[in-house]
């Protein structure tokens, strides 16, 4: 007989209790009266000699009860060979091999393959071993069901052949996703197998455990109790610790006109490194020109060399400036650090879009009294767009501009009914339209024309427009700072609108049931700025003009951010083509054709929401052509993958993962033995019989005592 919790057997020392109590001479033979106890003192318990113990049977019964209780707590079981054999067949293991980009370092990958092969070869026949790889996704090479359908030798052959062609990818490592997926899969398999005893599963995690690996998915995951992760940290071949130092280069947003800032991060290095940065051409070849040659590089205000040599201290982050490129596509190469997998950064200069704001106004008045005078001076240009300004006369017979090129139109009070009808069509097709009532409507003639234009623009919506009667100037009072237009001005440093005075404005009574949303109101309660979504576009309405005759708005510091906000709102949403990383997926728009870095056609994949898209699996230049207009986009390795510091394994445990370091064989065997014992004990439940026996002995003891 064996015991599952032999520590409880220490409790058998409690048998000394009954023996000692029997030896204590404290058995009073009845009661005797005495005249006075004044000369007596209570006698302390005294021990008698063993030979003088009486009531041997009672002593034996009491000792037996104690021993039975102790034995019950120690969880006894009878070893059974046949059962053990059955139980052994339930051991389920999954190898989870890291194939993320960081595994491309030095000789990590051959070491990882070698370790995986040895795990496969060392697997016992009762171990059902499956094989998965992971980077940003989890790939099943040999699933559980496949592994189970083969015999031990066949299974090993299958696993070894599956591992043969595997190469590390260029994707980021998402360890959290991989662990939760496999743990879920193993736990579900446990749940399906009611016929067998519940056994523990094991995930053998073969990885370099770089710190950049994402563990987000583990934060909300309840790790199964019967699943353990065995850590197999891969080191460089020969047992030498991997040099985890790495220098990562990232191209920052271009701000200066003549240079490109590059952030260099040196992680985990013990000494400073001499780094060389160089722009290569689109094909990865060195630029065979002088560094200051304007043919290749833009003329810099101060000379910068290409290549650029930098001494980078350990554990440092540094921003250096590289000369700006003339050619749109270049590769930045970093030389001098030990990890070369992330040493190239691809840089594609995005094409400049030419956009235009068209103002429907009298073009004969390009004076400060017209709306367009201030619009024209708005600084809306940047690296990816160039914004021009144009007038369009009311009732002009010119063709209406292209919606792609002119996303925003602005109109003054001179908007005619015909122009308003055309503008409504544009709005419904996705255009944005800003109508500023920039002249008084005191007289009936202008008011009627404005109301007519309103009705044409809003498809007959009722409105009451009249000139506000106010002796004093007005200010904007009620401003919705939660609206995206005003969010940037919500800070207390910028949200003072009291100095922007409006000398005159129109009082517009909007229908409460309409879709209009008032964003800002005058202090007399009339709407100052309102917007309304119509179809795919948006209509903005200002109840006053911004020119000095109407207000101080055009001259205030709030004018540029608000007008820029209205303009930006009119632009189609960015697809994020300027900052693509490997593993990113992007939806394919109609008419788009994508080419990979080797000019191969990219096969569409189905994205998570069911939309067709493309996935970028390797870094490099990708080309997309939309209606025969080609654009090059750069796809780089995720920055997190460059963080090659070693992850703290305690982090996994803090997230609930039951880990164990690489176990030795004896410990494994002992663990296995323990597991078998637990199952046998649970199956036999001998402790119940011991408890019943103990209760029986107590009953006999009680009866014997009462008889005595």
């Amino acid at each position: 007989m064996s015991f599952l919790a032999p520590m409880f057997l220490i409790g058998s020392l409690a048998v000394l209790g009954p023996i000692v109590f029997h030896m204590i001479r404290r058995q009073a033979k009845g009661e005797q009266v005495f005249s006075s106890l004044m000369f007596l003192e209570p006698s302390p318990p005294t021990m008698m000699r063993r030979s003088r113990i009486d009531q041997w049977l009672l002593l034996l019964l009491r000792s037996l009860a104690v021993l039975l209780l102790v034995a019950a707590f120690a969880r006894p079981f009878l070893p059974s060979f046949t059962f053990v054999e059955t139980a052994q067949s339930n051991v389920r293991k999954a190898i989870l091999l890291d194939i993320s980009a960081s595994m491309n370092r030095e000789s990590l990958w051959p070491a990882a393959i070698e370790r995986t092969q040895s795990i496969i070869n060392e697997a016992k026949p009762e171990h059902i071993l499956s094989l998965y790889t992971f980077d940003n996704h989890v790939h099943s090479l040999v699933s559980e069901s496949e592994a189970q359908s083969h015999s031990d030798i066949e299974r090993k052959t299958l696993l070894l052949s599956a591992i043969e062609g595997v190469q590390p990818s260029h994707l980021a490592s998402n360890l959290g996703k991989a662990l939760t997926t496999i743990a879920d899969r193993l736990t579900k398999l446990e749940g399906n197998r009611d016929d067998l005893k519940q056994v523990s599963s094991e995930i053998i995690l073969v990885s370099d455990f770089q710190a950049g690996s994402s563990l987000d998915r583990l934060e909300n995951f309840q790790w199964p109790t019967n699943c353990h992760v065995t850590i197999e940290r891969i080191r460089a071949k020969g047992g030498m610790p991997t040099d985890s130092s790495n220098v990562a280069a990232n191209v920052l947003e271009t701000k200066s006109s003549d240079s490109i800032p590059i952030r260099l991060v040196h992680r985990n290095g013990e000494q400073s490194k001499s780094i060389e940065l160089e722009w290569l051409d689109e094909n990865g070849k060195r630029i065979e020109t002088e560094p200051n040659d304007s043919a290749a590089l833009e003329k810099p205000s101060k000379p910068r060399s290409n290549p650029l040599k930098i001494d980078l201290p350990s554990e440092s982050s540094l921003v250096v400036e590289m000369p700006k490129l003339v050619a749109p596509n270049r590769i930045l190469e970093l030389r001098g650090d030990s990890a070369t997998f992330d040493n190239r950064r691809w840089f594609a200069k995005p094409p400049v879009r030419e956009l235009q704001i068209v103002c429907i106004d009298d073009s004969n008045r390009p004076t400060p009294e017209s709306l367009g005078y201030f619009l024209k001076q708005l600084p809306l240009d940047n690296d990816v767009r160039q914004v021009t300004f144009a007038w369009r006369a009311p009732r002009s017979l010119d063709p209406w501009p292209d919606l792609q090129r002119v996303p925003l139109m602005v109109a003054s009070h001179l908007l005619t009914v015909e122009d308003a009808k055309q503008s409504r069509l544009r709005i419904e097709n996705g255009g944005h339209f800003l109508w500023s009532l920039d002249a008084p409507v005191s007289d009936s003639s202008p008011r009627e024309s404005v109301i007519s234009a309103w009705k044409a623009l809003t498809n007959g919506e009722q409105v009451e427009i009249k000139e506000a009667v106010s002796k004093k100037e007005c200010i904007w009072e009620k401003i919705d700072f939660t609206h995206p237009l005003f969010q940037t001005l919500a800070d207390s440093r910028f949200n003072d609108f009291t100095k922007t005075r409006f000398w005159q404005h129109r009082k517009i009574e909007l229908s409460p049931s309409s879709a209009w949303k008032t964003i800002a109101s005058f202090d007399d309660g009339a709407p100052a700025l309102a917007c309304c979504s119509m179809g795919a576009g948006k209509l903005w309405l200002m109840a006053a003009g911004w020119q000095p005759a109407e207000s101080q708005f055009a001259l205030s510091s709030k004018f540029v951010p608000i007008m820029a906000g209205i303009f930006e709102d009119s632009l189609p949403s960015e697809r994020g083509l300027s900052r693509l990383e490997t593993g990113d997926q992007i939806a394919i728009e109609a008419g788009e054709v994508w080419e990979g870095p080797s000019h191969e056609m990219l096969q569409p994949v189905e994205m998570a929401d069911g939309v067709r898209g493309v996935e970028f699996t390797t870094p490099g230049f990708y080309r997309v052509s939309i209606n025969n207009i080609a654009q090059t986009v750069a796809v780089n390795l995720p920055a997190s993958e460059s963080d090659t510091r070693t992850m703290e394994l305690e982090k996994l445990e803090r997230l609930g993962v039951t880990t164990k370091a690489k176990p030795n064989e004896e410990r494994l065997a002992a663990k296995e033995e323990q597991r078998k014992s637990v199952e046998l004990e649970k199956d036999q439940r001998l402790w119940r019989w011991f408890m019943i026996g103990m209760l029986g002995v107590i009953v006999i003891e009680t009866l014997w005592c009462s008889r005595a």
Binding site: R26, G30, V33, S35, S36, L37, M38, L40, S43, T46
Partner: protein, 313 residues
């Protein structure tokens, strides 16, 4: 003294009638009057002694004053027989007995015997029973039916509470004004210092005191055969007693108590005797006679030393 001549107490206790028991015990003693050493008003002249302030002026012999110009008190022999009080402890500790009868049975028999004996000698005998306080009293008289009253008091069932000598002895000294013989029958199983003062008061009132300590043989020599839970008869307190360890300490404490008691007796100049309940009751009568003898001896010695010659002189 040959103990074999006396009645065995165990046999004596079989006699139900207390008077018969007493009669049986006393029947060996000769009855007879004895002279009182105490002085009182009588016709029989005893002695002269010089007057001291505080003396009753009625006792001054004016004739002698006329002759000698000095005050002398004329003393006469008291014709009355002695006044004796039997003080019987009836507390619950007296209920203990290991011989088939309790210490109280023994004490009552002894009190009856002494009362019978003293009555036969024409002495005035009174009785006082006590437990924690005085429970009954018969004043000392010599008259017809006095013995019956005493025996009736002894026959009363004790209510049985703790021994407390302090209160009864205080009460005794308050109640009994006339000096006489106080025979206190008790086991004295209380700390000696607690009743020392009250006993001293009695002596100060010129009472003659005889303590008769009645003990069970088991109390004198503590003997338990096996570990026993012993219950105090008075307090009901229980105590586990192992005789192997307890007997020695009991004996030490008992002896110390006895020596304290005898020291007290010595200090106060009173008489005391200890009777085991297996000892014959006649021993108490012997002690009584010895007390009488000692008193007479002391009386004669006093009268010799303070004779009228000196007063006349």
């Amino acid at each position: 003294m040959e103990l074999g001549l006396y009645a065995d107490p165990a046999t004596l206790m079989r006699i139900k009638n207390l008077q018969l028991r007493a009669k049986h015990v006393v029947d060996g003693f000769q009855s007879g009057l004895h002279r009182s050493p105490l002085h009182g008003f009588s016709v029989e002249f005893s002695e002269y002694r010089p007057y001291v302030p505080g003396d009753d002026p009625r006792g001054i012999d004016w004739r002698l004053y006329a002759r000698s110009d000095r005050y002398y008190i004329k003393k006469f022999e008291d014709e009355t027989n002695r006044r004796c009080h039997l003080v019987v402890d009836q507390s619950r500790s007296m209920d203990f007995g290991s011989l088939g009868y309790s210490k109280l049975d023994y004490a009552r028999t002894l009190a009856a015997t002494l009362a019978y004996y003293l009555t036969m000698q024409r002495d005035a005998v009174g009785m006082l029973t006590f437990e924690a306080d005085v429970t009954g009293m018969v004043p000392a008289r010599f008259r017809h039916g006095q013995l019956r009253r005493l025996l009736m008091l002894l026959d009363q069932k004790p209510s049985g509470v703790a021994t407390d000598l302090t209160k009864p002895l205080s009460r005794l000294s308050e109640i009994i004004r006339h000096r006489g013989l106080m025979i206190i029958l008790s086991d004295f199983l209380v700390p000696v210092p607690t009743f020392e003062q009250q006993l001293a008061h009695l002596v100060a009132r010129r009472h003659e005191v005889l303590l008769i300590r009645i003990l069970d043989p088991n109390e004198i020599t503590f003997s338990l055969k096996q570990p026993t839970v012993v219950r105090d008869l008075e307090t009901g307190r229980e105590m586990y007693i192992d005789p192997t360890t307890a007997a020695r300490k009991y004996q030490e404490k008992f002896d110390q108590h006895a020596s304290e008691l005898s020291a007290l007796v010595g200090r106060l100049g009173i008489s005391a005797m200890t009777l085991s309940t297996q000892q014959p009751l006649e021993l108490a009568l012997w002690e009584l006679l010895q007390v009488h003898d000692r008193r007479q001896t002391r009386g004669r010695a006093a009268s010799t030393s303070r004779g009228p010659n000196r007063g006349a002189g």
